[in-house]
Assembly symmetry: C2
Homo-oligomer: 153 residues x 2
């Protein structure tokens, strides 16, 4: 047992995960950790590499919009141990769907932005080409040509 499983303080974990110490305590209180965070002398939290690994997963899932309750649910299942893989699968598949939906929306948005950016670039280009400084058209009503969703390259 010469394994010195590096233990980390809350500050160190904050530093290497990018979460704040506040957030770490908050996550703990929310039951996001698989194993209860151990305590060292003086009641201080002691984190293991496993904790950090788990947090890394949590951070990715959070970044993709998984709500904390779902994260807790997942942690609960993992904590329970083998035998509930179906539930974990369900949870992951649900999130998979959320994420793909989101990807769709983002892509649609990217279409829109690309379209708008193109329009404005053309406009500015044209302006520049057309004449020297100070040449203003009567103002296009509202916004440039309407974006028709699905009209992207």
């Amino acid at each position: 047992m010469a394994e010195v499983t590096a233990t980390l303080s809350i500050g160190q974990v904050a530093e290497r995960t990018g979460l704040s110490v506040h957030a770490l305590r908050f996550y703990e209180q929310q039951g996001v950790f698989v194993s209860p965070v151990r305590r060292g002398p003086g009641g201080r939290r002691v984190y293991s590499q496993d904790d950090v690994d788990w947090l890394t997963v949590c951070i990715i899932l959070r970044a993709s919009g998984m709500p904390l309750p779902a994260l807790r649910r997942y942690a609960d299942l993992v904590r329970e141990g083998a035998g509930n893989e179906e539930e974990r699968l369900t949870l992951m598949r649900e999130h998979h769907e959320r994420v793909t939906t989101q990807l769709g929306q983002l892509t649609q948005c990217l279409d829109l932005i690309t379209f708008k950016v193109g329009v404005y670039e053309d406009l500015l280009d044209q302006e520049r080409r057309e004449a020297g400084p100070d040449q203003r058209r009567p103002s296009v009503d509202g916004d440039v040509p309407a974006f028709r969703p699905g009209t992207s390259a």
Copy 2:
């Protein structure tokens, strides 16, 4: 002038945009509309098709995480009329960046999920193949094999 530019009540707009009437009033108060929403008899809001079109754009931008203040800023620029295309371009490019960043994160998350789903599917598959009902292994500590970011197909 035989153009009967269909006018819509707040309820109708809510219905066809999917926003709540509350949200519509809130957006208006937040200055998200390009032209002030007109009022009909009795002070009731009267929306035009243009308003709905604009809302459609707003909804897409919101869905991709553009904050309301940015939306307002954009509306301000459009309201001002031609001449500020550079600013609009900047705004859009900024959002473009946010969106691509987000797309990256989501993709990373999708990798993770796909990996986990694969693991659980294999596990369940194996279990099913291995024997009839009730056969439980001593419990895999923590979670299945760690996910190494960037290990996806």
